[in-house]
Symmetry: C2
Subunit: 419 residues, 2 copies
Amino acid sequence: MSLIVMKFGGSSVGDAERMKRVAKRIVERKREGHSCVIVVSAMGDTTDDLIDLSNQINDGALPAAREMDMLLTTGEQVSVALLSMAIHNLGEQAVSFTGWQSGIYTEAVHGKARITDIQPERVLNAIEQGNVVIVAGFQGMTQEGEITTLGRGGSDTTAVALAAAIKADLCEIYTDVDGVYSTDPRIVKVARKLNEISYDEMLELANLGAAVLHPRAVEYAKNYNVTLVVRSSFTYNEGTNVKEEAVMEQGIVVRGIAYDKNVARVSILGVPEKPGQLAKVFLALADVQIDVDIIVQSGVINGSADFSFTTNLNDREKALDVLERIRGEIGFREVTSEVNLVKVSIVGAGMVSTPGVAATMFKVISDLGISISLVSTSEIKMSCVIDAAPLQDVIRALHSAYGLDTTEQAFVGGPQDRR
Amino acid sequence: MSLIVMKFGGSSVGDAERMKRVAKRIVERKREGHSCVIVVSAMGDTTDDLIDLSNQINDGALPAAREMDMLLTTGEQVSVALLSMAIHNLGEQAVSFTGWQSGIYTEAVHGKARITDIQPERVLNAIEQGNVVIVAGFQGMTQEGEITTLGRGGSDTTAVALAAAIKADLCEIYTDVDGVYSTDPRIVKVARKLNEISYDEMLELANLGAAVLHPRAVEYAKNYNVTLVVRSSFTYNEGTNVKEEAVMEQGIVVRGIAYDKNVARVSILGVPEKPGQLAKVFLALADVQIDVDIIVQSGVINGSADFSFTTNLNDREKALDVLERIRGEIGFREVTSEVNLVKVSIVGAGMVSTPGVAATMFKVISDLGISISLVSTSEIKMSCVIDAAPLQDVIRALHSAYGLDTTEQAFVGGPQDRR
């Protein structure tokens, strides 16, 4: 008799048949005696279809973020209504709620708002009345009654935040893979499914582009100590437990390898050395909601410095515009940028206490004849930005070098085959 | 400098191009110096597509009305967001609101709720700030925060009710025809566009199946004395004014002819004559939200009576179920029902003071060799329920008989050609 939050992503409810299968899964849980709160994303390609529609209206103009939120939140509202009907058809009570009906409050930012508060009374009342409660993921409301979205992948965050707010015993993230893998199984066939991973490791992997969980969701889970399980909505296999401390296998230091193709490098050359210059640049970028990842500064030569940062591919042009605008104020010489890059990262809680981990990464990459554009390290991860072209070779070589290859083939074929 | 409510139906915003044309139309109004509140329906076939989706989930089971409302209200939310973007692209400020954001409160009935209250502060504030305000039609919220719909055609009601609540100077209903016609121009090519019509006449025509305006909207307009104009979203032609008193042309008694194919007859035979029997039957039908239209009772013979009523085709089975349930309590002998019927009605404020109007109708119908199943009259209308097959001949003959044919052809082709 637990209180369980179950989250289903867009591909798990991609069409009516899958929706019904998810309903069956939920009803099984319910009939095991659990109280279930479901968080669901928009069906399959709905979000992309809605974006297409807005493109037809906007002819390349950037739509107002507020109106995009109005538009996109309909996708999840469709899902929750249909899923509720599917559960009714299996003979169980269910009730669907939008983000605002679920009491999910966010900051007043459109497109990627953070949850500021959850007032779960309505959800709790509905559970008490014996309902499966189905909540639209990815969305919330400001104090002023404006509809907001948490950004892509935000349904994970909805699930975890709701689990924390209602003090759920467990938060299950159902997805189209069996769990968290040591790396992308589409690239490395012998990737291993992890039984456990720590919040911190998962956070790094998620931040580094492992799409299986949204980083904000992991952060939330860590902060509120929500027990997370990542598992498949298509099989009954054990998933991956995400928790405070995870057991490391004997002789293994790196838990997983992630990559992110959505990377652009921007370099600012000849910045006059004056206090506060860097702050001005990054405040200006933050003002327009540009996320900056790796930042590297060279030494100062003749009173001026060069520095580089990475950002989302999509944000590159916006970043260049911002820099052009503040060029006069900062007085730098030149801005360059580069695309067709990839960021490859190794993650493992044991890295900090194991010498030679970094050296191995550099050696593997240089043995393949590839030069490294940027490097960034933390206690439990190390990232290298390199040319995108040799990505597969690099990941395979790293996966072997860190002893991550499983002896038997974990599965045959890519993730598509397991849907 | 007026405050105008403009309502656009689904076919007016059927695709991105039409949406942009509507935006242009709105911006023209705005630049004439008016404050504009827009009410918009779901795009073209969106509602039907959503119903299809729910059918795929429900495999013939009846979905919960609450969840249907959650599902269907997304259609208008998509429209308002896109229309807002389209107006932005033309350089004007606009903001979109759902029903609940617009302060539209309804009774706690799903599928065809009535508006109980409008709290228009948010809409008024947004106008004050210079915005075109775009409101999702057809939807509202209960006091408990449940999402409701007003039923099909409910966007007209949203527009008129909002016009009353914000004390608008004018409520323009944009549609795919030039105005209100003396009858369906798809059937009678020489149908005439009316310049004026009274609320009462319009109400009868709307109730009788003239799809151009929803009856509830007309009722609302009459009660709150909202000046209505029905006009085309595709042309700049003058529309039809709907108002308290409308001028009747010399020699014309019948304003228009309507028909309704969505009719079923149900007859209850051998009802024991006891006080309160009829009330029991119709209360039971009202309990499940079945609208009953014409009711006819025969004389009492041997202590028992027969009576018949008409209802929506879609409600027929539900009505038969209800009657079966109360059969024991009432003790009637038999229930029969009939489909493939049509109700043909003539409407005109002058009918009450002109002898022979009814006789003409009966003669026209009997001259065509058609028998009449049910008759119902009011001060300004008369309806006959007949076989559906000869509908076109009957309407053409009535249109001529009451002097409604225009001398010149009003237009060539059906309404589709004028889109």
